[in-house]
């Protein structure tokens, strides 16, 4: 009996140790969250969501300034990144998972791993060479391409592992009733892996949405709303992570505060997409 009791005691010691570790990991996260909210909260206002930033003098003259151009710009650039990366990323994931014998498979795997491990700033450089140089100007589009390079390998990997989780027997069952291979993948495997695909996409999105480095010489940044709507795509565009940096290194106290407010918005967007990812995962477990 004593030995059983001592085992329970040891079990409890280990449990307390694990809980303390978890708390230790979470403390910095809560400090960051708390600090950002405390610093930025007073700068959250209606103007922040409706006015553009303009030059530093604008605020000094007492005119209302905000980050509406940054918020819209972030949405535009992120949506372009999503539209570009989803078809390519899922396509690559299907290739990796479903055609292991294809000659292009190992090449794709190496390329994908390289892209995944490449520093984000180099992805910006890649988009600079591919889009900014030929088009002759910084643009929202090039920013979208740069972020697509961030999302693509994550989506491809997530797609691959989501599809690999579907038993091979389902594919054989589809083939055995005379379905072509692509039809089996499209109508039985991908729907079955839907939860994994959505989760992978949301994680990729959250990752890309927080990147500033790839945008420095692609979407470039902008203090103003564009004159014409095409400016969102073909002109320099402001984004939250990059604006946050620019505001933080500026010499103006008011801009520092706006930087904290931008951080709150960015954190909210990223937290929302991770929360959505968790929600989808939980949904799966209940089935």
């Amino acid at each position: 009996m004593r030995s059983l009791r001592s085992r329970y005691a040891r079990d409890n010691v280990v449990l307390v140790f694990i809980i303390l570790n978890t708390v230790a990991v979470l403390i910095p996260l809560f400090i960051i969250l708390g600090y950002v909210i405390v610093q930025g909260f007073n700068y959250i206002s209606l103007d922040l969501f409706t006015k553009e930033l303009g030059s530093p003098t604008r605020n000094m003259m007492g005119e209302p300034t905000g980050l509406v151009h940054t918020i819209i710009g972030t949405a535009v650039v992120d949506i372009m990144a999503v539209l570009i990366s989803i078809p390519f990323g899922i396509g690559a994931g299907v290739m990796l998972s479903e055609y292991p014998d294809h000659w292009a498979n190992p090449i794709l795997r190496v390329l994908n791993d390289t892209l995944n491990g490449m520093p984000a700033v180099l992805k910006g450089l890649l988009a600079f060479v591919l889009v900014v140089k030929p088009m002759g100007s910084f643009s929202g589009l090039s920013g979208g391409v740069a972020l697509a390079f961030v999302m693509f390998p994550i989506i491809a990997r997530a797609t691959e592992s989501a599809l690999m989780n579907i038993p091979w027997s389902i594919r054989e069952a589809g083939l055995a009733i005379g379905l072509p291979r692509w039809r089996v993948i499209l109508s039985t495997i991908i729907p079955a892996a839907k939860v994994g695909l959505v989760t992978g996409f949301l994680i990729a999105f959250a990752r890309a949405a927080g990147e500033a480095a790839p945008l420095v010489f692609t979407s470039f940044g902008n203090n103003y709303l564009p004159v014409k709507w095409t400016g969102w795509i073909f002109g320099p565009v402001d984004t939250l992570p990059q604006r946050l940096y620019n505001l933080a290194i500026s010499p103006y106290e008011h801009w520092h505060g706006m930087g904290w407010a931008a951080a709150i918005i960015l954190l909210a967007v990223i937290t929302a997409s991770f929360a959505a990812a968790r929600f989808f995962i939980r949904d799966k477990k209940q089935e």
């Binding site: 389902i170 055995a176 079955a192």
Partner: protein, 258 residues
């Protein structure tokens, strides 16, 4: 084996071998399968009976490093003709697997008609008819007719296997390959599937792999005994189970090994 040529020939293999890398899983098997008969493939684990079965509808096409040599013919047509789309072969030669394989996201109805709906058949009335006919054939209709829209995965194991059979029958195959279809089922479900095989053989040619010798003797007209990748003996089931020609067949059937 002279007394087995009285029926119409449907499928034939001539010197068929299946290699995994360098190793042959099936060695030089020549076998004639007769129309609208049940042929059982028996033998100890790893003897190549499933490998042989999967060669008949080109399931090895997807297996990395698998290679098939020799000939496999259906109605005289070469199954491995490089100009022939394997999809066409698999429409003719359906397959039911060891474990039930309902498509995870589909309803019972969609599972049954998948082979038609997903290649473009949209006629609702036709699909309804096919669904009912196939589920009746697989003796599942009465149990599921009121819940055709519920997920296929919600059925019990035995029902899922009958659903898999219904799905295979929906595309009206001429030959049905069954790879140990009852090995994961309880005795009652096993009975139902054995009855089903008896009812189906008027319409389709069935080749069944089984570990269960009683099952082979109950359901089949012909039996082939495989051992270490080779076909040892092939004859009418009654002959194999009463007076086999080969010593090894007799030893296996009487439970001395395997």
């Amino acid at each position: 084996m002279d007394n087995v040529i009285e029926n119409k020939l449907r499928l034939e293999t001539i010197g068929l071998s299946v290699f995994y890398g360098e190793n042959p899983g099936v060695k030089d098997v020549s076998l004639k399968i007769y129309d609208k008969k049940v042929t059982a493939l028996i033998g100890p684990s790893g003897c190549g009976k499933t490998t042989f079965l999967r060669a008949l509808n080109r399931m090895h096409d997807l297996t990395r490093g698998a290679k098939v040599t020799g000939k496999a013919l259906i109605d005289g047509q070469d199954i491995y003709d490089p100009k022939l789309d394997p999809v066409i072969i698999r429409r003719k030669i359906g397959m039911v697997f060891q474990k039930p394989t309902p498509f995870p996201t589909m309803s019972i109805y969609d599972n049954v008609v998948a082979g038609l709906k997903l290649v473009g058949f949209r006629d609702r009335k036709l699909l309804d008819e096919v669904c009912e006919r196939s589920l009746r054939q697989s003796a599942l209709w009465d149990e599921v007719k009121d819940r055709l829209k519920t997920p296929g995965g919600s059925l019990s194991g035995g029902q899922q296997q009958r659903l898999s059979i219904a799905r295979a029958l929906a595309v009206e195959p001429e030959v049905l390959l069954m790879d140990e279809p009852t090995s994961s089922l309880d005795p009652q479900s096993t009975n139902r599937i054995e009855e089903l095989i008896g009812e189906l053989k008027d319409q389709v040619t069935i080749i069944i792999v089984t570990h269960n010798m009683q099952q082979a003797s109950r359901v089949s007209d012909y039996t082939a005994f495989f051992y270490i990748g080779s076909l040892i003996e092939y004859n009418k089931t009654t002959k194999i189970f009463t007076s086999p020609d080969q010593k090894r067949t007799e030893e296996y059937i009487t439970g001395q090994f395997g």
